[in-house]
Symmetry: C2
Subunit: 598 residues, 2 copies
């Protein structure tokens, strides 16, 4: 079995759950069929197993260093990214019109996931570049695209996103970096950016920063932010590299995990000579950022699922081969030890990991499918409906895997016991890597507020209604199926609570009180969504069992995980929804002095 | 505010909750009064802040190394332990008769906690030595005590516990290390021991290993294990050090956390010349180990609480001083940013930490008080009652803080955001350190099985009854108090579920099924116990508020944390008890092949 991907599960999601076949019949994806998709994923898996996986532990133990002048990164990183570039994967999800492979997002996400699972530290350089290039492709002028997009999609130049500053992390409203027009159509950028992943490195020929900054005289707050392209080296008209653009690496941050990717404090324009080019119109920078936010945030969720998957696969393999202890009924100490997968609590921890990881994977794959569906429909009503679903599910797709696939990693360590707690085994690394995902691309708290304060109320509840229609459809189908009708009923009650809680909370005029328990709401909402997707997985598994009579283990495993989710997980939402609905103010009313009494 | 201890909370627990005053009137502890206790803790805090805390981050970043011959450890470690020894603290909890300070366990635990909170890596060397010396004091012959105890209580020789082997971690039944009598009253020890904390170091003059091994011809399994004293250097009759005792360090394990303490793979008697001395009688080694188990396991819980406390104090201080963002009702971006402690979700994460950490501290302090009470009573019935309470609470005291104070550390990282995820700040270290506690001194699963399979049933439920009497007494008192009667009712219902669930589970004859969800039972049981202790804290806080009218913040903070626990935490037990009571077999019945379908 592979340690970085369960291809059978990917196929199940793409073909048996989310009908990739139908998508591949559309004009946009006409170049793809099952065979091509399989070949693409085969290539990805081969590169990832050959170039990414073998150096993952070493890269974690030997993070990039900065000697005050240059950044040093293990050479395996560059070699791996060259293989990735050679396969054309930097351009996987881009349109043919700009030289891309025009892959369905469902497929390019799966492809990316394989690399993430193998080596998060290397994979991140490519994903940041793709996110940056995605904004360029969507928002850049023809000449901006001419200049930057080609080298990025070829993997020769990498990209970053520069939003945060030391005094402005979650609060982008407080960004201070300045951009002053120099009269020649350029802007002079000055300021300090913090937490810039890939902000400096010695891998690519150039680094293209996407920078949020303020044009003096604009409105305060987020309405005065503009977006700029700021390259490390200036680019001449003919595409060759010009002078150094006055961006100084002030230092590297040293993280608990994600140690393979540089994370930088950057000073722009210390000597007053850092050139940037405006993207789109002035003062619209944040709205441009939000343009790409759903994909970026779903991408974080995808990454969290992949850390979870890496731990799940490793601990499953370990549990099958590690003898230790005997069954509770076995009192004779001279009988052989059993493999630990025989112990009920190890099975519980594996089943929990399966339910979290495969549940999370179904969630992010469903979201990817919504993005694909948007790309192939011209119907404005359908576009609107898909957009609403994506809007309401994005906070879940980002946050739920962050929380529960981290929990999965905790279980993976536990299954390996003392060994799992050492750096000689990879599971503690996955646990360290995964802890980041609650923090970046909007903290957990921010997504709670986004969900309860905005998404469930937007357009008079239209997004929540769009989701409810989907959920009720699954419930209506499952209600008629032997073995699933109980789950259908339980999911229906849980959704009632979810909706009623949003309604109860909306009745207060006190916005601080309304949002005081938004994180608990986010958490419980996620459980309902994933229960819904598990019920769909069970439906597909029953169909699979009826269809060919083979692969009993695979399909029965899906049914078991669905059962686990409805018995062990979904019942926990009741107390959380009740808490949120009660508008409890215990925490909100606590004064700073009460915490330790001084 | 101190970053390593909340002295006000220690005083609250010792004097306002658990009546240390009364204990100090007993003959055994006649040398102590409040003033002496305060002076002792002052000294501990001063040494910990001066010698332990300043090098904690550096020790984590520069773990001990082994060059194939010698172990190298930062010199600050030795200096810190010398200061600890000079204060006499190695002997804190030992009887005056053996040269100890004869401190109440409640006080010596608090003292130890201060050092743990400051620098877990250093503190562990002392605690391992004290645990080893405790067994010697209880079980050793006069000549064994003469030879070993004095240097250990003076901190000149350190001690270890050698139980695990590579093939025998949780399953001590499978230990293979041999001890062959040489006819001179000595035993020749041979075998490999794994995970030995402090197993080698360059700090103390000698290392005294306490080793579980098998005398050939004994019964198989745990009933054939004997316990031996095995020194690194042999000890001459006059107490001077003799020859090297043929114990080879085969390698150091590299852990995710706890990086300051060496953790070793040791080969005993590779050349056939490793001498050991039997403790007590042959084949009774494991029962001797269990003799000290309650204290050792409560000690693990105490350590988990201290990692939690370290993160709580740090993140609280940070939240008070980090400006970021504005209240939800504030729409004007030019108003100043507020300190993040003003945000509802930061308050929630601080309150959760407070509830977990101070709740956990009350639990382990209560257990320490039970041990103290045992030491001063001659009444066999009272001894029995105290023993039963300790027996049933030990799995909780070990496991509940491991789970929930790790969760506290997760929140501490989140409060610091990106900064919290870097090694430039200490909170990620606490999170890494704390993850060990589910694993050592009996895994989480083992404590669940111990609780549900043994402790709740022992002596026809006598331990559970003893606990219930205590809980009902608190409920009866709280029922009459305005503001607490609701909690009293809820705690009563929760305890009913706890007891009824144990009864339901006991009805099956299938022991594998009976124990299949023991971990969930352990978890929910812990929440009920901590809710009970929070209700007691609230009672004491109301008394404090009525008594002097001062310290409003401290006491109101206790009431707020109690309210948090009853509103946010206790309601979660219902679904867990229901699951256990249903004898759910979802995980138990899953086959190894179903997890990924191959």
């Amino acid at each position: 079995m592979s340690m970085i991907v369960n291809r059978r599960d990917l196929d199940f999601l793409m073909y048996e759950m989310f009908d990739l076949d139908r998508l591949l019949t559309t004009e946009r994806y006409g170049d793809y069929d099952r065979e091509v998709v399989t070949a693409v994923l085969d290539t990805a898996q081969a590169i990832a197993e050959d170039k990414y996986l073998p150096c993952a532990a070493e890269l974690d133990a030997n993070e990039p260093t900065f000697d005050g002048k240059d950044v040093h990164i293990m050479p395996e990183v560059k070699a791996a990214l060259e293989a990735y570039a050679e396969a054309g994967f930097f351009s996987a999800s881009f349109d043919e019109a700009v030289g891309g492979m025009q892959m369905p997002f469902m497929v390019s996400s799966a492809l990316g996931g394989i690399f993430t699972c193998a080596n998060m530290g290397i994979a991140s350089y490519a994903f940041l570049t793709q996110a940056n290039a995605g904004m360029l492709a969507a928002l850049g002028t023809a000449s901006q695209k001419d200049m930057f997009l080609g080298p990025m999609l070829a993997g020769r130049w990498f990209g970053t996103m520069c939003l945060s500053e030391p005094q402005a992390g979650s609060s982008l409203s407080d960004i201070r970096t300045k951009a002053v027009a120099d009269g020649d159509g350029r802007y002079l950028i000055s300021g300090t950016k913090m937490w810039i992943s890939g902000g400096d490195q010695n891998i690519s020929e150039n680094i293209i920063h996407m920078v949020l900054a303020r044009i003096p005289g604009g409105p305060p707050g987020v309405k005065g932010l503009s977006l700029f392209i700021v390259p490390k080296y200036r680019v001449n008209e003919d595409g060759t590299l010009g002078a150094d653009n006055n961006i100084a690496l002030a230092g590297l941050n040293h993280k608990m995990g994600h140690r393979g990717t540089t994370n930088c404090l950057l000073n722009f324009g210390e000597s007053g000579d850092c050139h940037g080019t405006l993207i789109g119109e002035p003062h619209r920078g944040l709205s441009y950022m939000f343009h790409m936010m759903n994909e970026a945030r779903t991408g974080v969720g995808y990454g969290a699922v992949m850390s979870g998957l890496a731990g799940y696969l490793y601990s499953l393999d370990y549990a099958r081969h590690r003898p230790q202890g005997r069954h509770p009924h076995e009192k004779d100490p001279v009988t052989p030890q059993v493999m630990i997968i025989e112990h009920a609590d190890v099975k519980r921890m594996l089943m929990a990991q399966k339910a979290y990881v495969e549940g999370g994977l179904s969630l992010v794959t469903y979201c990817a499918g919504l993005i694909d569906a948007q790309a192939v429909t011209d119907d404005p009503a359908e576009q609107g409906r898909l957009g609403l679903l994506l809007d309401i599910l994005t906070p879940i797709a980002k946050s739920w895997p962050s929380e529960y696939c981290l929990e999965a990693n905790k279980h993976a360590i536990q299954i390996l016991g003392g060994y799992g707690y050492t750096r000689e085994y990879p599971v503690e690394r996955f646990y360290r890597d995964n802890r980041l995902n609650h923090i970046h691309e909007g903290t957990h708290a921010i997504h709670g507020i986004d969900l309860l304060g905005r998404k469930v109320r937007m357009r008079e509840g239209a997004a929540l209604e769009a989701l409810e229609r989907e959920v009720r459809q699954t419930i209506d189908q499952a209600r008629e199926v032997a073995g699933l009708s109980g789950y259908a009923r339980e999911l229906g009650s849980a959704f009632d609570m979810l909706r009623d809680t949003a309604g109860r909370v909306a009745q207060t005029k006190n916005v601080n009180l309304m949002l005081a328990n938004a994180t608990a709401y986010l958490d419980a909402f996620g459980h309902v969504v994933v229960a819904w997707l598990w019920l769909q997985q069970a439906q597909a598994a029953l169909k699979g069992l009826a269809g060919n009579g083979g692969e009993q283990d695979f399909y029965n495993g899906k049914l078991a995980a669905c059962q686990y989710f409805f018995r062990y997980e979904l019942p926990t939402v009741d107390s959380r929804f009740a808490l949120v609905a009660s508008l409890d103010d215990t925490c909100l009313m606590a004064s700073p002095e009460q915490f330790i009494g001084q």
